[in-house]
């Protein structure tokens, strides 16, 4: 709604987060259009310090780290977003189904959700990552997505099952509307702001998860992501060699993206939540 958007813009937390995020996104989208070089090309010696040619020096393969960083941020954000979409959509569908339909379906889905909450998702993430043969960034993102939906599902379920008993839903029913229509028009709008926040959080945690499993060497092959940059830096002992540039910029980028998403979420929370509560 226009109103809440207006208020969002007034929230310094949200604006700070959104600002950082948009600037980073713009940078990584625009830079590769100006500099069309292949980020995988090995153009220098290993671990060259930053210089006027290599703004962030070179990595162990002699690649231009700044260029890699641009692509790495892109991949990380993409993985985060895809993971976020998957987690949110799965969580939303399961939460809606279990909250709206109720009864046995609810019992079953709730139990499944609880089971997924209890079984540590990071371990499952690792196990699946190991067992999958061809790991592309898409596959990684999907794996992250399908291991991180339970919290969303739980929250959506709670809200849906209370919304289900709201009278406007009853009125819609009596008016003969179909179930999908009721869910879309009578229930979804109420949880929309929550879902957006959950999506932002899931995206942030997707980015973190990608970084973590890539750093364990279980990330996608043949791409550059921030996690993979750090992984190579560690495998080739960049810190031992004093090559901080192979490691710190990528770490900072992740922190910055995640931080910006967290800030956006906190900002939104402060705006949206009072409404949900009242």
């Amino acid at each position: 709604m226009k109103n809440s958007l207006n208020i969002l813009i007034k929230s310094p937390k949200f604006m700070l987060g959104a600002g950082i995020f948009i600037v980073m996104l713009a940078l990584v989208l625009i830079f590769p259009m100006i500099n069309k070089k292949d980020p995988l090309e090995m153009i220098a010696l290993a671990f060259q310090p930053p210089s006027s040619q290599l703004w962030l020096g070179s990595d162990n393969f002699g690649r231009d780290l700044f260029l890699e960083l641009m692509y790495g941020i892109q991949t990380s954000i993409r993985v985060g977003l895809i993971a976020g979409v998957f987690a949110t959509v799965i969580g939303l569908i399961i939460g809606l189904a279990s909250g709206y339909i109720g009864g046995i379906v609810d019992n079953l889905l709730t139990s499944i959700t609880n089971i997924f909450i209890v079984i540590p998702s990071f371990i499952i993430l690792i196990l699946i990552s190991v067992s999958i043969n061809s790991r592309s960034s898409l596959v990684t993102a999907i794996i992250i997505g399908i291991t991180s939906w339970p919290w969303t599902a739980r929250a959506v379920r709670a809200q849906t099952s209370s919304l289900r008993n709201r009278d406007h839903v009853h009125i819609a029913k009596i008016s003969g509307h179909s179930t999908p229509r009721i869910i879309v028009f009578e229930i979804l709008p109420y949880i929309a702001s929550y879902v957006v926040m959950a999506f932002v959080l899931q995206t942030a945690s997707g980015i973190l998860s990608e970084a973590s499993i890539s750093m364990l060497g279980l990330g996608p092959y043949n791409t550059i992501s921030l996690g993979i940059i750090m992984n190579w830096a560690l495998v080739f002992e960049a810190p031992v060699a004093g090559a901080w540039w192979a490691f710190i910029p990528a770490a900072l980028s992740i922190a910055l993206i995640t931080f910006s998403l967290y800030m956006m979420n906190t900002g939104m929370d402060e705006i949206f939540n009072p409404k949900i509560r009242s």
Binding site: M42, F61, V130, N133, G217, V235, F236, V240
Partner: protein, 600 residues
């Protein structure tokens, strides 16, 4: 049954509970009744004053040999821990008959004093009369025969020698005879056996065999925490983080070497990864490192007393030839010109520089290493014309000439087959290999062949390698320094007999290359004694290899790395110090002589 942790009694004499809580204290008593531990010193520090830690200046710290926690010290188990590991003629606890010297390929005496071929089929070995077991019993020919026979009786590491050996018999108490198998005489592997098989005490292991009803599965479970052996060291302490051995001051070899080894203790620290080990090494907590240290020159840039065997690049003595193997059933890769083009596209200099930190000398493709010990087998001039060098232009021309045209995406198509994407595979975390393959993939891009890297977990790679589930895969053919090189390397690359079909497990020739001529030559070499004939055979074989290109060596790699930090121990052997001690990390083969040379 076995006690898993050896506990040293604490200073006050009371037994402290082990930190890891693995030990069943009752086992201690059970052990004591065994003959193996009649000598109480076996698990006690010699100085009983302050046993909390081994004094730094009496302890040699090493890393990079043992990665997981130690599970047992039983040679028959298949995976004994440091310092027992089979396959590297390790001489610290168990000893072999002879020690190989990597520098000149010669076998130096240890438990054996002399070996000679009394006829074409018999190897006669004389044993050192002084040698005795750590429990005081003398070492005799019975022990040698027993040790060899174990391989016949059970499926263990040295069982395969019995494919070439007819029998091993005692020739008096201090000599043995090894008779070759008439159907399959292979002198080379038998020579391997005398420098690789660790000698085991008959009187101890007969008991264990009996106790286990001659069942290998039961024997394997024996932890053998206090091995009775002939070597200069005994197990002192071990847990998940380190293994410490202590010098046996009654070591028989005092007479052979003229003194005892310098370090009273040797501790192998088990690090979780290279980085942790390198950091510890850099800071002087480790004296000898067998780890791959990237850009090792950085280590001594600030004047730290760190050395490699060679002062300058390639710093280490090459010992193996990690290569990529092609799957001969993959369309596109079955074309020798495509393989040659790939071979010519690869930037070997870059691999050496970026992946190996320059530890690999210039690539001269051959079945032999470019060392004195091996290169003499091949007529270098004869193969010159077939050897490839990095030449992207020529590679492109070659591909053009066979009609492989570039598609819109820049990838060539040969007779309707797109050249790529091919996956090239090696285990994750083997960083120099990972980097080498990244460079291969980049190199191939320049000639219009798409190669993608894939770095799965080691067991997945092993599985893919053996069952042939790969396009291109990286592996080291027959690594190790032993008398049968370069024959065993050639065998692993090219020998097609007894190789299981795709889908089943093959233990060499993973790409299922087949050339009858090559098979014949490989069959012939081991029984040939004439040096000139050998040279022709090896040269012919190399020519076949250079033509068919079943594999492309990517780098020369040391079999073991040998980087030393001399802040505590000094006098490690280096190239040109005249000692002729090979850089075999001071514990393998003739490298053990370094232990007698170093000092505080």
């Amino acid at each position: 049954a076995g006690c898993q942790t050896v506990q040293p009694p604490s200073a006050t004499g009371t037994t402290t509970p082990p930190a890891q809580g693995e030990t069943k204290p009752a086992d201690q008593g059970e052990k004591a009744t065994e003959p193996a531990t009649t000598e109480p010193a076996a698990n006690q520090p010699a100085t009983s004053g302050d046993a909390k830690e081994t004094p730094r200046n009496e302890t040699l710290y090493i890393n990079g040999i043992q990665w997981g926690p130690p599970s047992n010290f039983n040679l028959l188990s298949g995976n004994p821990a440091f310092p027992i590991n089979y396959g590297n003629s390790r001489e610290l606890v168990y000893e072999t008959l002879f020690m190989i010297n990597q520098l000149d390929g010669k076998l130096e005496p240890l438990l054996g004093t002399k070996y000679e071929w009394t006829d074409d089929m018999t190897l006669h070995i004389e044993l050192n009369k002084d040698a005795k077991w750590s429990d005081g019993k003398p070492f005799t020919s019975d022990d040698v025969v027993y040790t060899y026979q174990l391989g016949k009786k059970y499926d263990i590491n040295w069982s395969n020698y019995w494919a070439y050996i007819a029998d091993v018999t005692a020739d008096g108490p201090n000599a043995v005879k090894i008779m070759l198998n008439k159907d399959n005489p292979n002198r080379l592997t038998v020579l391997d056996s005398i420098e690789l098989i660790p000698m085991m005490p008959k009187h101890i292991w007969e008991e264990i065999e009996k106790k286990s009803n001659n069942d290998l599965a039961t024997i394997r479970k024996e932890v053998n925490a206090n091995p009775v052996a002939t070597g200069p060291y005994k197990i002192y302490f071990y847990n998940d983080q380190k293994i410490t051995i202590v010098r046996d001051d009654n070591y028989w070899g005092k007479s052979l070497f003229g003194k005892l080894p310098a370090p009273k203790y040797i501790t192998h620290v088990i690090y979780k990864d290279n980085a942790a080990g390198d950091l510890a090494f850099k800071s002087g907590q480790v004296d000898v490192s067998q780890q791959f240290i990237p850009q090792v020159w950085n280590m001594w840039k600030n004047g730290a007393p760190i050395k490699t065997y060679l002062k300058d690049a390639p710093y280490y003595v090459p010992g193996s030839m990690p290569s990529i193997f092609f799957n001969f059933s993959k369309k596109g890769l079955d074309n020798p010109d495509v393989r040659r083009a790939i071979a010519m596209s690869i930037d070997y200099k870059k691999i050496s520089d970026l992946a190996m930190s320059g530890y690999s000398a210039a690539m001269q493709p051959s079945l032999t290493l470019n060392t004195d010990a091996e290169s003499k087998y091949v007529d270098q001039a004869a193969i010159k014309s077939l050897q490839w060098t990095t030449d992207v232009k020529a590679a492109n021309e070659l591909l053009d000439s066979i009609g492989a045209k570039k598609g819109k995406d820049g990838i060539r198509v040969l007779n309707g087959t797109r050249l790529g994407p091919f996956e090239v595979e090696c285990p994750y975390g083997w960083s120099d290999w990972n980097a080498a393959l990244e460079i291969v993939a980049q190199s191939a891009k320049a000639i219009g062949i798409e190669i993608r890297t894939k770095f799965p977990e080691a067991p997945v790679w092993t599985n893919d390698l053996q069952t042939g589930k790969f396009d291109i895969i990286m592996n080291t053919p027959a690594g190790g320094v032993n008398p049968s090189q370069p024959w065993s390397r050639a065998h692993d690359i090219m020998y097609s007999k007894e190789v299981a079909p795709l889908g089943e497990m093959a233990f060499w020739n993973w790409g299922r290359y087949k050339n009858d001529k090559a098979d014949q030559i490989i069959d012939k070499i081991p029984s040939s004694t004439d040096q000139a004939e050998l040279k022709t055979l090896y040269t012919d074989l190399t020519k076949i290899w250079l033509t068919d290109i079943p594999s492309i060596p990517l780098m020369y790699r040391p079999w073991v790395f040998h980087t030393v930090n001399e802040s505590v121990w000094k006098g490690f052997p280096v190239d040109g110090d005249g000692s002729n001690i090979p850089p075999q990390i001071a514990m393998d083969g003739a490298g053990i002589r370094a232990l007698y040379q170093i000092h505080n």
